[in-house]
């Protein structure tokens, strides 16, 4: 509940995206933009969640597999996949999250279960689907790790 209140400190609005058979919610303050799925160029990397690099605003943008990050099972083939460009801890740093669809900007319901630190801050059910509340700041730390 403290986490919910802390979330509420972010203004209480989240961008909800679908990935696999789950939903992921991320604070809109941490999101730069949502764009149709960028063309990803695979690159050699040790991070299995890294799909590759994409070109965004004239700069290379690493794109991560969101479903792999939250452990969501694969769903149907996405009709209109999107790439969510999010801010990381570093100055001006951005990361792309490959998702199946952008659901909308919504108020996250209060009955979530906190899962502790890390990317997934809380987990619950929203409109009958598993919802993961993400702390995108963790992406920078994780990357640093």
């Amino acid at each position: 509940m403290n986490r919910e209140r802390e979330g509420g400190a972010h203004g209480g609005r989240y961008l909800v995206v679908a990935t696999g058979e789950h939903l992921c919610a991320m604070a809109v303050e941490q999101v730069r933009s949502v764009v149709p799925a960028l063309t990803v160029v695979p690159c050699p990397a040790t991070d299995p969640n890294l799909l590759g690099l994409a070109e965004y605003g004239g700069e290379p943008l690493p794109v991560l597999d969101l479903a792999a990050l939250v452990g969501a099972p694969a769903g149907a083939v996405a009709e209109f996949p999107v790439t969510v460009v999010v801010r990381t801890r570093g100055e001006g740093g951005s990361v792309g999250l490959a998702a199946d669809a952008a659901v909308g900007v919504v108020e996250v319901p209060p009955h979530l279960t906190a899962t502790g630190s890390g990317l997934v801050q809380a987990r619950g059910t929203w409109q009958g689907t598993v919802l993961h509340v993400l702390e995108l700041a963790a992406l920078g730390g994780e990357r640093r790790q």
Partner: protein
């Protein structure tokens, strides 16, 4: 006084009467003269004259008359002897014996005997000729009778056959009439069917045109369906474009909302706009989905319509082909119906002619039947006449058998010959049976030969050849039985010669027969026994 010539017994009597009358008149005159006192010489003259007259009478009349009477009596005796001989011969002939007449004719003068024997010979020849003729007549009448019977039987069969043929021809005529009616009906039906075929051909032609038009319409529909399909693809492409636009709008609204979240108070108002834009994008996507769904249904319907149209087109082609074949078949059918109608009319005419011919045949057959019936009646009469002729011939045969002829066919001759031979057995009849058995073997027509004594007691009998086999001797025919009441026995004993009985039914064979019998005489000429032969008529007439 006059003396008449002795011409006979009556003449002599008259002369004597005249003489006595003259003497009485002269005596009366003499008594009257004496009474009146006449002289005595008158009396003497009268006596002298009377004496002279008496002498004259005796010499001139009485003596010649007496000689004549003796000669007359001798002649009369000769005549009586001749008459008796003639009577005996005629009696023998009356009894039918035309043989052994020498004794009877011996007293006759040679000329008379010769004439009598010539007459008997002629009579014998006549009887034999009658016998032969009657035999031939009987045989001929038997043939005629048999032929008439065969003809009657044949005519009866022929009449029956004619009746059957008549019935068949009547049936044929009825059938022909029925066929004629059926053929006429068939001709009418065929004509109607031909008309219907013509109408059907027209209808098929119209149907062909209709089917071709339908085929063209189906082709048009298929073309239109293709156009609709192309248009639908265009719509899908537009819908995809709209969907993509709506998605981008959605993303744009999300970005707007994200930006608005960081825009303070102004950002809040912008958030509302962004939300409206997102909702608009959402409705656009939903509308597009609805349109897509409808378009899917429409496209499916179009595809189904295209498939159905293609099938309908194929079916139309098949229908067209079938219709063409049907048109060809109807054309052939029309031709066949026309031929059928013509054939039916010909059949009707032919069967009508056949019926007329059959009626004529039936009439002719009825006439033939009448003729056959008349012929059968005539044959029946003819058969009756043949039977009468046969009976008459047999009667003549039997009648001629009443004469004993020196002929093998003379039964009287046979029985008397056998009787003469049996005379040798007089007094010891025990060997007669074997003799009879041997004798009947020579006479096939003899059913039964038997011998009785002069009292009618059966001494012996033997069955003839024709009577053997299944024939049973009647129970009353036994040795020792008495037959004195039988006509053949009584007639033989009465007449003392061979006799012939009328026809009767044989108790042995059940067939017509008659009996011929003759006396068997001993050495003294007395009847010692009677021999009887039962002769089978049919067997006898075949000989």
């Amino acid at each position: 006084m006059s003396v008449s010539a002795p011409t006979g017994r009556d003449g002599a009597g008259v002369g004597l009467a005249v003489t006595v009358a003259l003497a009485l008149v002269a005596g009366a005159n003499l008594v009257f003269a004496v009474a009146r006192g006449a002289p005595a010489w008158v009396f003497d003259a009268f006596l002298l004259a009377a004496s002279v007259l008496l002498v004259v009478y005796v010499v001139g009349a009485y003596l010649p008359q007496r000689r004549s009477r003796q000669a007359q009596e001798a002649a009369q005796r000769e005549t009586e002897l001749l008459g008796e001989a003639l009577l005996t011969a005629l009696e023998s002939i009356r009894r039918g014996n035309l043989t052994h007449l020498a004794d009877a004719t011996a007293p006759m003068p040679a000329e008379l005997r010769s004439a009598f024997e010539a007459a008997v010979t002629s009579l014998t020849s006549l009887v034999q000729q009658i016998q032969n003729s009657s035999t031939e007549t009987a045989a001929a009448s038997d043939v005629v009778h048999t032929t008439a019977a065969d003809l009657a039987s044949g005519s009866a069969e022929q009449a029956a056959a004619v009746v059957e043929i008549t019935a068949t021809m009547e049936q044929l005529a009825r059938t022909a009439a029925q066929i004629a009616r059926n053929a006429a009906t068939q001709a009418e039906l065929a004509a109607k069917a031909e008309e219907s075929g013509t109408a059907g051909a027209d209808a098929v032609t119209e149907a062909l045109a209709g089917v071709e038009a339908v085929q063209q319409r189906i082709a048009d529909v298929a073309s239109r369906a293709d156009d609709v399909g192309s248009r639908a693809k265009e719509i899908y492409r537009i819908l995809d474009l709209i969907t993509e636009i709506a998605h981008e709008t959605h993303i744009l609204s999300l970005n707007a909302a994200i930006e608005a979240s960081t825009g303070g108070e102004a950002g809040k108002r912008f958030t509302v706009v962004a939300e409206e834009v997102r909702r608009l994008a959402q409705r656009s996507r939903e509308s597009v989905e609805s349109v897509r769904s409808l378009l899917d249904d429409f496209a499916a319907s179009i595809r189904a319509a295209v498939v159905a149209t293609e099938e309908a087109g194929k079916e139309a082609v098949r229908v067209l082909e079938r219709s063409r074949r049907a048109a060809a078949a109807i054309a052939e059918l029309r031709g066949a119906l026309s031929d059928t109608a013509r054939a039916a009319r010909e059949i009707s005419l032919a069967t009508e002619e056949q019926r007329t011919a059959s009626d004529q045949v039936v009439l002719t057959l009825r006439e033939v039947s009448e003729v056959i019936h008349k012929m059968a009646d005539s044959l029946k009469s003819f058969r009756g006449a043949a039977e009468k002729v046969d009976t008459l011939a047999l009667s003549i045969q039997l009648l001629t058998q009443s004469f004993r002829l020196d002929s093998p066919r003379s039964l009287k001759n046979l029985v008397e010959r056998w009787a003469a031979e049996l005379s040798a057995h007089t007094g010891h009849w025990e060997a007669v049976e074997g003799w009879l058995a041997a004798a009947v073997r020579e006479a096939p027509s003899v059913e039964l030969a038997y011998l009785t004594d002069r009292n009618g007691t059966m001494l012996a009998f033997a069955l003839g050849g024709d009577a053997k086999g299944d024939a049973q001797v009647p129970a009353n025919v036994t040795v020792g039985a008495n037959f004195s009441d039988r006509p053949w026995f009584q007639s033989t004993m009465r007449d003392g010669c061979a006799i012939l009985t009328p026809l009767y039914q044989s108790m042995l064979t059940g067939e017509p027969c008659f009996t011929v019998a003759a006396p068997v005489r001993d050495r003294t000429g007395a009847i010692a026994a009677v021999l009887g032969l039962d002769v089978n008529l049919r067997s006898w007439t075949k000989i």
